[in-house]
Amino acid sequence: MTAVTIIITVLGITASLALYRVIFGPTPWDRLIAVNLISSKVVMIMVAAAVFFERRIYLDVALVYAIIGFVSIIAISKFLEGEDTDRK
């Protein structure tokens, strides 16, 4: 067991714990919170892989993934807000 195996295993286990909330969450916002958590876990797994395996390209992938996750969270929560809020 090297250090990187432990780190990636713990992060993967927590991501699958959050998957419980994605599947059984009673409201859409619960699922959104859990998706936000999983996307930040994936970013951290990529950064850890980039540092331990000496692959610099993973860091660019992690940055782009973080940006896409943020924009999608904002877009979905704006969509869930409903149609009657932005109308003047």
Binding site: A3, I7, V10, L11, T14, A15, L17, A18, Y20, R21, T27, W29, D30, L32, I33, A34, N36, L37, S40, K41, V43, M44, V47, A48, A50, V51, R56, L59, D60, A62, L63, A66, I67, F70, I73, I74, S77, K78, L80, E81, G82, T85
Partner: protein
Amino acid sequence: MIAYLFIILGLVFIFFGTLGIIRFPDIYTRLQTSSKCDAAGAIALLVGLMVREGLDSLSLRILIILMFLLLTNPVASHAIARSAAIRGIKPWRKKKKC
């Protein structure tokens, strides 16, 4: 050694933050753990990885990712909480003992 200390601290924070969104009763309390513990855990983990790597171009890029996470995590939580509040989700309250 200091690097692994930071990494273990970050992993503990991340684990309890995820445990919180399973145990807590409603959206707002779940957002509390997901925003705070996740941001603190991410910062500790990434600082640990930066210390292990040393000062070079790789750790500069990790610093950019760190600042990005620190800026966007509260904004995402705020957007989720605001949309839930506008749709009329009531916060969970503790039952009064009387």
